[in-house]
Amino acid sequence: MLLEAKKLHLKFGAIAALDDVALDVTAGEVVAIVGESGSGKTTLLRVLAGQMAPDAGAVHYLGRDVLGMTEAEHRRLIRSDWGFVHQNPRDGLRMGVSAGGNVGERLMALGARHYGNIRDEAQAWLQRVEIDSARIDDLPRHFSGGMQQRLQIARTLVTRPKLVFMDEPTGGLDVSVQARLLDLIRALVRELGLSVLIVTHDIAAARLLADRILVMRRGQVVEQGLTDRVLDDPQHPYTQLLVSSVLAA
């Protein structure tokens, strides 16, 4: 059991952002949290990643109490075992640092001291995320949105984190760009055996990537299970509504 959360409650004033939420992720699993705006899915992700404290409940990573960790322990975890892919790549990149520097940073933070090796690894990762490695010295502010997002993914995965949190990684991107990104994420997850917790409002993306899916509405998990089962045979009225609302191309 990689990540385990129980009885999470969080209120913003009178609004229940999380209402008795439980969730777990095992090694090698991709879990999608879907829901519409205001469902609480992003709040849930933030609480699980230790970025926000809930009013009640517990989160454990490999048996360690995430919410009770000191800031130092938490930051160490974020830098080594975990990765976080932000919806807006600008939140997860250093815009004033070259692509190579962005990818190499985590390596250097963990002690890598050979410039040539760091650069080679950065170049390999750029290729892996389909960025022309000739752009290794370019600044991300000169990249398209899709490229920035792919760079963020490279930067996050370079240290082979055990668990990756993704917050709407394809939000705001053009459809063709989204397709490419989803395919890339899918391939990397398989190749690296990553465990991923992905928040998305895009059900098709969830179907493509996730082993399991949680459907959230107004802070509650209304249904969860095998992705294709939940999407093809939804039980909860809200899930049925959600699935029937998706337009087929």
């Binding site: 490419r180 095998l226 093809d232 039980q235 049925q240 509504l241």
Partner: protein, 232 residues
């Protein structure tokens, strides 16, 4: 020969909340068993629940009642109550499903799509790709299509990709939902050949065969799915 898949009192009722909670019972009390090397054809009128039964067997639909016992890793796995992780593992190892429709993954070439489940089952990538090519050739899919993503393929071409994907890994249990629906006579014969080969290798097969010729060629027995009366 041993039973590889059996159901006990399997039932499935759909509740359509968007239609005021209308309840549609489709399956009730289904007891089915399939042995290694045996092919059982599901028969019954359209809408009787044949596809629903198939999907329940694969875990794609959640059965409302009863049990599904699958031979998996030397033991019996009860699929209805199994956690998602175990269902995924069972699908990787022990049970395959060939549907009529191919859900397309953008940008991935046909050969890779076919090879993927074989690699997941433990084959090396190069072996899987070779076997994928061989199967696609056997199914008369033109070579030039092998590296293209199948999004733009015709129905018949997509079906052949599905078939290659389903027959490639050598699952002990295989579910075939209208495997020859979009194929011409020559390719139907090839599929019949694949089914015979699989049976000889000990595969337990459950199939929906709309085509009588195919059904007669491969089925050892028929299991009839009776339509249920609608609940009030």
């Amino acid at each position: 020969m041993s039973i590889l898949l059996r159901t006990e009192g399997l039932g499935k009722t759909f509740t359509l909340h968007l239609q005021g909670g209308a309840r549609i019972p489709v399956l009730a009390g289904v007891d089915l068993a399939v042995r290694a090397g045996e092919c059982v054809a599901l028969s019954g009128p359209s809408g009787a629940g044949k596809s629903t039964l198939m999907r329940c067997l694969y875990g794609n639909y959640g059965a409302g009642a009863g049990r599904i016992m699958l031979a998996h890793r030397g033991a019996e796995l009860e699929l209805v109550s199994a956690p998602p992780r175990e269902v995924i593992e069972a699908r990787r190892q022990s049970i395959g499903y060939v549907s009529q429709f191919l859900r397309v993954i953008p940008r991935v070439g046909t050969r890779d799509i076919v090879a993927e489940p074989m690699v997941a089952r433990g084959m090396t990538r190069s072996d899987a790709l070779s076997r994928a090519s061989a199967l696609l050739d056997h199914l008369n899919l033109p070579e030039r299509l092998h590296d293209l993503p199948p999004a733009t393929f015709s129905g018949g071409e997509q079906q052949r990709v599905n078939l290659a994907r389903g027959f490639g890994p050598g699952y002990p249990v295989l579910l075939l939902d209208e495997p020859t629906a979009s194929l011409d006579a020559a390719n139907r014969a090839i599929v019949i050949g694949l089914i015979h080969e699989a049976k000889q290798a000990g595969t337990a097969i459950i199939g929906i065969f709309h085509d009588a010729e195919v059904r007669e060629a491969v089925a050892d027995r028929v299991f009839t799915v009776e339509p249920m009366q609608d609940a009030a």
